[in-house]
């Protein structure tokens, strides 16, 4: 059976250094895949390749049975959405951030939808006009993540989005993730160092020194 995403012997070399080597795994539709590994092991590099922000130097990656090279990068990135480790916010206000996905699609900003999205992540709907400089770390992270889901992607890749957050903020983000997966049927790829998140992972992939070290499914 064809998986949603298939990686086969994916490798990445830069400046004569091997950053990733022979990474192979598949991701099924609506699956939640958690990826972990020591700092510098190549997790972010892997997902940047998966979201076509950079190119692998070897191996193949297919999405819905077609090589990711054959997609229009812009359309592909709207389907396979990557939320950065330590994202920066755009412009001046929260609205500037939530509006960007509408702007790039030449669509009018949906204020109601944005307000609903904010309240769903425990932010007041009047946050829309709040200056980004006034947000706390956890609030920034939530706003950044909302940008990725104003239009639902097929796959959402989250790179250490809970790192450095307190328990309350983590809980809110976990709730967001569950909702994206259960209600909105989004496939999730979660990168984490968090022990709790690793313990609760349904499927845990471990990267070590740029290589796949473990791929464990649990119930």
């Amino acid at each position: 059976m064809m998986s949603l995403i298939d990686l086969e012997n994916v490798g990445f070399q830069a400046d004569g250094q091997t950053i990733l080597k022979d990474i192979s795994f598949s991701v099924e539709e609506q699956e939640i895949v958690t990826i972990t590994g020591a700092s510098g092991s190549g997790k972010s590099t892997l997902v940047r390749i998966l979201s076509t922000l950079q190119s692998r130097t070897s191996g193949t990656i297919t999405y819905k049975g077609k090589s990711i090279d054959d997609y229009d990068p812009i359309q592909y990135r709207r389907e396979v959405s990557y939320c950065f480790q330590q994202p920066s916010l755009f412009g001046d206000t929260v609205k500037d951030n939530l509006q960007f996905p509408y702007d790039i699609r030449n669509q009018a900003f949906d204020v109601k939808r944005a307000q609903e999205a904010l309240t769903a992540v425990d932010l007041n709907s009047n946050y829309l006009d709040k200056a980004i400089t006034e947000l706390s770390g956890g609030e920034r992270q939530r706003v950044a993540m909302l940008r990725n889901v104003m239009f639902y992607p097929q796959v959402l890749i989250m790179d250490e989005v809970t790192a450095g957050l307190d328990e309350d903020n983590k809980q809110i983000i976990h709730k967001m993730m569950t909702r994206f997966n259960q209600n909105d049927h989004i496939t999730l790829i979660i990168i984490t160092h968090d022990q709790d998140e690793m313990d609760h992972a349904k499927r845990l992939i471990t990267i070590e020194n740029g290589q796949l070290k473990g791929d464990e499914r649990r119930e």
Partner: protein, 265 residues
């Protein structure tokens, strides 16, 4: 106009050269290490200006359209080449710069010739082309520098916009706007202070040559408008044509290789 009153004797020139010694002395005292650059610069300026002076004298005398056009093109090419040198490795900037300067100069000078504000004679065409092309060159050079700095400093933001599915233009727009603004800034600034802080060279020249100041000002106003148009046109074209050099065919951000890399902390 009494041109004999504008004669400068060789003795006065040599005396004026003495002024350079002041600059050299300061450079030496303050250990600025620019003595060599300054001496070379002064010598170059003297040689270049003399060559240009005699060349202009000749061109103005023969008053040949073909020769005038060739000289205008040489000025534009030169300006483009110098703008390119400020691009620190952004691809294709030689042709982009020449194209942008050619069009910005061509449109402004062309419009003035068509409306008979200027005559297509070498004595007018060459200095005006020089003014437009050089200001355009400075603006474009600033644009390039700003593009380089901002694509480095705001790399993260560009990547995020790309990852959200923005195309390369949408993902760079904030940088493009900023760069165009930076390119035009000197022209806009000098426009604001014109007549108060600066008496522009062209106007000063005309007044110097004994022309009615009001008439000189009218000329200067025209030149100012032309400069604003030329720098904005040049900046917009150079920025919109060159930013694509920061991306590859997969719409990935790739910074020009020879651009200064940020040191790792």
């Amino acid at each position: 106009m009494n041109s004999s009153s504008l004669q400068i004797s060789n003795t006065s020139l040599i005396l004026a050269a003495g002024l350079v010694l002041i600059a050299l002395y300061i450079g030496y005292r303050e250990k600025l290490g620019i003595d060599r650059d300054m001496i070379i610069g002064v010598l170059r300026a003297i040689v270049q200006l003399y060559i240009v002076g005699y060349l202009l004298k000749y061109v103005i005398k023969v008053d040949n359209i073909f020769l005038t056009v060739v000289l205008m093109l040489i000025i534009i090419f030169n300006a483009g080449y110098n703008a390119m040198k400020r691009s620190q490795g952004i691809p294709n900037t030689l042709w982009i710069s020449i194209g942008a300067i050619f069009i910005s100069t061509g449109v402004t000078v062309g419009a003035m010739v068509l409306t008979h504000a200027l005559k297509f004679i070498p004595a007018q065409m060459i200095p005006i082309t020089g003014m437009m092309a050089s200001q355009s060159m400075v603006a474009i050079g600033l644009c390039y520098r700003n593009l380089n700095t901002n694509f480095h400093d705001e790399r993260q933001q560009v990547l995020e916009k790309l990852s959200l599915g923005g195309n390369i233009k949408q993902s760079s727009m904030h940088i493009l706007r900023e760069s165009i603004k930076t390119g035009m800034q000197p022209t806009v600034d000098s426009t604001k202070t014109m007549g108060i802080v600066t008496l522009p060279g062209m106007m000063s020249g005309l007044i110097f040559a004994g022309i009615d100041p009001v008439y000189a000002i009218e000329y200067q106003i025209m030149i100012t408008f032309m400069l604003l148009a030329a720098t904005s046109l040049g900046s917009v074209m150079a920025v919109y044509w060159s930013y694509k050099g920061f991306y590859n065919r997969e719409d990935q951000l790739v910074l020009p290789t020879s651009a200064p890399k940020k040191k790792h902390h």
